[in-house]
Symmetry: C2
Subunit: 250 residues, 2 copies
DNA sequence: GCGCAACTTTGATCAGGATCAAGACAAGAT
DNA sequence: ATCTTGTCTTGATCCTGATCAAAGTTGCGC
């Protein structure tokens, strides 16, 4: 027996083989599986801006993000693009049972992935049902997040959209730190204004204007163009239009 | 051995215990499991308009839609609502491993669900890993659909949104029939203009106007307010803004 | 038949965000 | 220092879809 629990984003642990703390499948490596894992596991790194895989490409691995940030997005023929997900450390990329990528994956910052060759991974899943269970839980989480994002895209105003995105980023950032948010948290924006626009279904000009507007209202402060200071998180949350007590995508 | 394959929406089969053809978990009942299944399985029916469950409510069952249509939606405090999913026969409702419903589920038409009490279902999942695998595949499908819907909500014009919705409904309807679409397919709109608006992130007036506009352009025809005739599906698809050859949510 | 309620269409006007256009700013490169 | 390049901000204008309002349609109960 061992005490491995299903780690949540706020409750990560060292897996012993990967360089950082994370919660994805390879974080659950068990000692006697490591030999085999090492045979099928490898790291890949990407520079900021590089594509990881294009929609429709054959995909011979599954992976989890070790460090850096990637985006999951889709582009129409005429160039309109929509981000459908933000991949942060510990997030999982890939589809056991599928052969092609359904969306574009692009490295936003320098990116390291911990990859598993797909077939051996699938075999491992069969032998270790806990992995499948874990993956199902993660997928259900992602599905809920995706659905919660729909109300942002479909029903929120530009200002609410920006506030929603900043809230998510602030919360994700806060969960990386040990100290709980002493008011006056701050974080580095990983996205350009254009990426934010693609995530929110806006134009980059509107994003810029609304960020400025939130600054003018005192809801946020900026140091340079990328560092965001949030004097009062509840104030920001109240700008999202959401219920105060939760529900927002984590 | 048996030849049960992972059924897709276009490839359903009789499960032998449920009244109609469908592809969800209970469609995969195996003869020797039936006795036990009957002990934990039951049907529930809802009238059109009735809620099945509210977001946040404790949820003691999982289920699949046997007949009728339900919506999955979310409402903000001020009343703005966004549908995040359309549940058609064979779709699965519920979260193994969760105790509360993440979204509102409402019956749009008269609805029959095939329900399984959650704990016994989860036990069954543990004993029969194929169920978990199947559920993971279905969840991955739903996740892809949810993400594909994001580009509709975030980047499409009102006309494209309507065309996208009609295309999905037309395709789903077509997959229920044996004959492939002899051009000139038609189907009954299951949704009111308001529900369509909530699905597409529009107002009901805009939906009405754009439906009229598509009619005036000859892309669709209407018999009464609810029956839609599609003389040329490709013509409709070209109005969605999507790539001709696929990709659209199924 | 009539009346009523729910749903739908259509019109007039408004506004939020898109679009077009010009600069501002910062970090590197020469 | 100057030029370049990419990113961001700000302004002016336009247009799509929202909002407000009224009337048309359908189905149902009586």
């Amino acid at each position: 027996m061992n005490d491995i629990s299903f780690n949540t984003r706020a409750n990560t642990r060292d897996c012993g083989t990967c360089p950082i703390r994370h919660r994805a499948v390879c974080a659950r490596c068990q000692p006697d599986e490591l030999e085999q894992l090492d045979a099928i596991k490898y790291y890949r790194t990407f520079e900021a801006g590089q594509p990881v895989i294009w929609s429709g490409d054959p995909m011979e691995f599954v992976s989890s993000v070790v460090s850096g940030i990637a985006t999951l997005s889709q582009t129409m023929e005429d160039g309109r693009t929509q981000m459908v997900g933000l991949l942060l450390p510990s997030d999982f990329i890939g589809r056991p049972g599928r052969n092609t990528a359904p969306f574009d994956v692009v490295a936003v910052t320098d990116l390291t992935l911990c990859c598993f060759r797909k077939t051996p991974f699938e075999n491992m899943m069969e032998k270790t049902p806990a992995i499948g269970t874990r993956l199902l839980q993660m997928t259900l989480d992602e599905l809920d997040s995706a659905r919660e994002w729909m109300i942002v895209l479909g029903r929120k105003t530009a200002r609410e959209k920006i506030a929603s995105l900043l809230t998510i980023l602030a919360r994700r950032d806060a969960s990386l730190h040990v100290k709980p948010p002493r008011d006056g948290m701050s974080f580095e924006l990983p996205l350009t204004r254009e990426s934010m626009a693609d995530y929110l279904g806006l134009t980059l000009e509107t994003v810029s204007r609304q960020v400025s507007a939130l600054k003018k209202s005192g809801v946020i402060e900026l140091q340079g163009k990328r560092r965001v200071i949030i004097p009062d998180l509840n104030r920001l949350i109240s700008e999202t239009g959401d219920d105060m007590d939760g529900g927002l995508i984590t």
